[in-house]
């Protein structure tokens, strides 16, 4: 289908504002009479608060002070299980847990005031790793330290081992990762004497924040208003966390009677807010004599931190993606999310899938090596094809082009020729080179019945100045929400891109189109924008003001005529599930996602055996995403995601001490700079998804899933040493290359003999 606006590289809607310094982020905003807030936080991992003393030398009478006792509503951060308090009340469960809040007109006095609050604790034993939590020597949450568990099965795994020519095991680890949006978290809250509350801030999900504020304040929902300010990066780190900050600012605003601004500095943001869930995955894989996957037993475990927050949903996505893009006749995934005494881990681009897909794709290479098959051939033999069913028994009805992308990736990277050449060169050089492949998929939208539950609502309205305005709660934070939704509306109605604008996200005037997460905005919300637009056109036709054959000028004139006659022209449309989406939460089977994006990535690395550092020489990213709505934005999403995932693989290590991140500064939490990244070559395939706008599927999180395993696979090819954990730092490579070579997995006869003797 030929499109005019969709698919064209139109300028970013808010681009000029961003480029001229006119875009207003939360710390650029001020209100008259505004004062500043700060948070006093726990310095221990777990224990009772014994005493809070306000130290000497601070004019405390000038401060507004808020504790848990001041919370008018419920002391809870409303999310899923509601186990997390807004302010600690007598007991803390993680370092940096918020205990009390201070506000003062002079921003500069806050740091010394915070330091002057002396809190004594009676420490309790605390838990800091998955293994410690599993041992249950200390129970820190619920009955058994487990936030959530899943069991997902297909076929009959237990029967499959006997048919295996090989059984290969592996264990894989991923560390925490900081989202590191360049704009730290911040909000401004203003409480009115009329019982109203308005909060502006840097955020992804205004209605999540709204729900949380209603719970904390006890105010009627219609009295609470949340407005998104220009947001400087989010990546999931501003999905749920801002609700906490908003609650704090709201409490200070209500108590002081003044607007309150709270902005985290980088050190606080890194130490106190959410990170990607660390994980451990254990694989046991049965393979047939001709290299076909017969069965997988996968155990996938995450560290959720001190409160449940989003751990259940992260675990869910990780579980569903654990088997990768392969055809598994039999598969069992058991997964658990464990509590530890660390600031709760949370949403970060990929949301569980980067963790379990890292393990799967790394394991595919380990298995390939064990059975003596080339990594590309092993994948080729086992990729899902149209008509086959996934690990959740979802039949993939649309064409899959993984084969084609695999071939193309190998061509683009000169994979086979280079692999041979490197093997030879590596024997004679201190610079070891290698290539690595990752094949993967990413489900767009909320899992299972999630989209039905969200029941998203979208509006379009005719503006007074003769154009169209899109009304959604979907937020822009760099990914291009504003631009693509305006493109879709314009394309649908035969308008120009310049005719369409999008409203600032404001819960009092925008419908709830759900959170801006889960790679759902283009595919799900974009579709509803289309239907809302078509509905508006239908309204105009039915009113007699527009002929069905009318073009742009007629349409815009009809809008004005309608407005003149009726005052306003607004059209709302709700989410409608595509047909044949059935999901069973009990058995964890069925259509897990309405659509998947598919990808093959290849990394080429040089491992310098003098310094043990890894340089990426080339990176090729191929993905099938339904429809490229905007070539520059889509390319930008992939490149940015790949860069973040390169950081995940090779640079970004969170160093923990007693549950606290101690490298919480940009100087010692290392993200890649302009000098560290290779050219990232991006290619798109399009298999239009029938229920996506112009065929589009989601792409925001996909690029996070592939680079880390591709890179580690390349490092294994380059060095001959297998690494199974990320981040993989030079120090780790040094240890691996100078230690004893790992024992290769046992051949089957030995394993079966051992089994027989059990």
């Amino acid at each position: 289908m030929q499109t005019r606006v969709v698919g064209a590289p139109v300028p970013r809607k808010e681009g000029v504002a961003k480029l001229t310094g006119q875009a207003r982020y939360i710390d650029d905003l001020s209100l008259p009479g505004m004062i500043f807030g700060a948070t006093v936080r726990s310095s221990i991992a777990r224990g009772a608060i014994e005493e809070v003393r306000f130290g000497e030398g601070i004019p405390w009478h000038e401060f507004t002070i808020v504790t848990a006792k001041d919370i008018p509503g419920r002391n809870v951060v409303a999310l899923i299980l509601n186990d997390q308090p807004c302010l600690a009340d007598g007991f803390v469960n993680h370092p940096e847990e918020p205990i009390l809040l201070l506000a003062h007109p002079d921003r500069h006095v806050l740091a010394s005031a915070v330091a002057a609050v002396k809190i004594t604790y009676k420490a309790s034993p605390s838990v800091h790793t998955i293994e410690e939590s599993e041992r249950r020597d200390v129970i820190i949450w619920g009955e058994d330290n487990i936030f959530k568990s899943f069991r997902m099965e297909k076929g009959d795994v237990d029967q499959a081992w006997k048919d295996a020519a090989w059984i290969v095991e592996g264990e894989y680890h991923t560390g925490a990762q900081e989202q590191l949006y360049i704009e730290p978290n911040g909000v401004i809250a203003q409480a009115g004497l009329d019982g109203s509350l308005t909060v502006w801030g840097s955020m992804q999900c205004p209605f999540y924040m709204h729900k949380a504020l209603v719970a904390i304040t006890g105010l009627p929902p219609e009295n609470v208003r949340v407005i998104q300010s220009e947001t400087g990066g989010a990546f999931g780190g501003k999905e749920e966390y801002p609700s906490i900050l908003a609650g704090h600012a709201a409490l200070l605003a209500m108590k002081s009677g003044r607007p309150v601004k709270m902005i985290y500095d980088r050190m606080e943001d890194m130490a106190a807010t959410t990170k990607r869930h660390p994980s451990r995955t254990r694989h046991r894989t049965a393979v047939s004599a001709d290299g076909k996957l017969l069965a997988a037993e996968i155990e996938f475990v995450t560290d959720g931190g001190a409160y449940a927050t989003l751990s259940s949903t992260v675990l869910s996505r990780g579980t569903i993606h654990a088997g990768g893009p392969y055809n598994w006749p039999n598969i069992r995934v058991t997964s658990k999310s464990y509590a530890t005494n660390t600031p709760p881990h949370g949403a970060f681009r990929g949301f569980g899938a980067p963790q379990s897909l890292f393990a799967m794709e790394r394991h595919m290479d380990v298995v390939a090596k064990t059975i003596g098959m080339a990594p590309d051939e092993f994948r080729r033999r086992n990729l899902l094809r149209q008509g086959m069913s996934t690990a959740t028994n979802q039949v993939i009805r649309d064409p899959i082009v993984m084969d084609k992308m695999l071939e193309r990736a190998l061509e683009l990277t000169d994979y086979h020729a280079k692999t041979s050449r490197f093997a030879e060169q590596n024997t004679k050089s201190s610079q070891k080179k290698g290539l690595g492949i990752a094949a993967f998929l990413h489900g767009s939208g909320f899992t299972g019945s999630g989209e039905r539950y969200l029941n998203s609502l979208v509006g379009v309205e005719a503006t007074a100045t003769g154009g169209l305005r899109v009304l959604v709660s979907s937020t822009e934070f760099g990914q291009g929400t504003n631009t693509i939704l305006c493109q879709i509306a314009a394309e649908t109605l035969g308008l120009e891109y310049e005719d369409v604008c999008i409203a600032q996200v404001d819960t009092s005037t925008c419908p709830n189109s759900g959170p801006t997460v889960a790679s759902r905005t283009a595919m799900i919300i974009g579709k509803i924008v289309q239907t809302a637009a078509l509905q508006m056109k239908q309204t105009l036709i039915e009113s007699g003001l527009l002929q069905p054959t009318g073009g742009r000028a007629e349409f815009l004139a009809a809008c004005q005529a309608y407005r003149k006659q009726f005052g306003e022209l607004k059209s709302y449309s709700r989410y409608e599930a595509a047909p044949n989406i059935f999901w069973n939460d009990e058995t964890y089977s069925g259509e897990a996602y309405p659509a998947y994006a598919w990808a093959v990535y290849v990394a080429e690395v040089t491992v310098d055996t003098l310094t043990y550092s890894v340089t990426l020489d080339d990176f090729v990213a191929l993905q099938e995403i339904g429809k490229v709505l905007h070539p520059v934005l889509a390319g930008g999403q992939i490149e940015g995601g790949v860069a973040q995932a390169i950081g995940y693989a090779l640079y970004e290590k969170v160093i923990w001490k007693d549950g606290r991140m101690i490298n919480n500064q940009m100087t010692n939490y290392i993200m890649p700079t302009a000098v560290d990244l290779p050219p990232i070559r991006v290619y798109f395939e399009e298999v239009p998804y029938q229920y996506g706008p112009y065929g589009a599927k989601g792409i925001g999180e996909l690029p996070m899933d592939g680079p880390a395993p591709a890179i580690l696979n390349a490092v294994a090819q380059a060095t001959g040493v297998e690494f199974h954990s990320i981040p993989l730092l030079p120090e780790d490579i040094f240890r691996g290359l100078t230690a004893q070579p790992e024992r290769p997995p046992e051949p089957l006869e030995v394993a079966l003999a051992a089994k027989g003797s059990q």
């Binding site: 590289p9 030398g57 500095d265 490149e639 940015g640 500064q665 940009m666 000098v675």
Partner: protein, 161 residues
């Protein structure tokens, strides 16, 4: 609280061609003076430690991290910020190139990135990709992976990408 060590004093400099005199504590950060005294909020605080470059401005033609400059040291300086770049009715070629090439996503690093590009292209009007990387090495971007920023810089330099 500790007793005040200093009193406010007058510091004068030009910003985007306009003279200003502010009454400030000498150790106020230039970043805060630009944002809070002059309302020029284009320069951002991303880290407060001179690592991210989102606060960078030109001081006497040189790129500096304004979060690390005590305002007293800007006495008599000629400052350029993002707000001074565009013309009356048109974008600066660097801004134009960033817009065309997708060099800005969330936009928070963009003012600093653009100012770094201004200095880079003054020193190297036809930079190699290597020089572009080095010139922007102190400006962190979390969104783009840098490729399209490089394209924008080379485009602005009048080269084909």
């Amino acid at each position: 609280m500790n007793t005040n060590m200093a009193s406010r004093q007058e510091v004068s400099f030009t910003v985007n061609g306009e003279p200003h005199t502010v009454s400030v504590f000498p150790m106020e950060r230039l970043l805060d003076v630009l944002r809070n005294e002059l309302g020029l909020t284009g320069a951002k605080e991303g880290c407060g430690e001179g690592e991210c470059g989102s606060c960078s401005v030109l001081m006497n033609g040189e790129l500096v991290n304004s979060c690390l400059v005590p305002v007293l040291q800007a006495q008599g300086a000629t400052l350029c910020t993002i707000e001074g770049l565009a013309g009356e009715n048109s974008l600066h070629p660097i801004q134009q190139a960033f817009l065309k090439c997708g060099g800005a996503q969330c936009g928070i690093c963009t003012p600093g990135m653009v100012m770094a590009t201004v200095q880079l292209l003054r020193r190297h009007p036809s930079p190699t990709l290597e020089q572009v990387r080095e010139g922007l090495g102190g400006n962190l971007c979390r969104c783009t992976g840098y490729s399209r920023i490089f394209n924008a810089v080379l485009e602005a330099a009048g080269q084909q990408t």
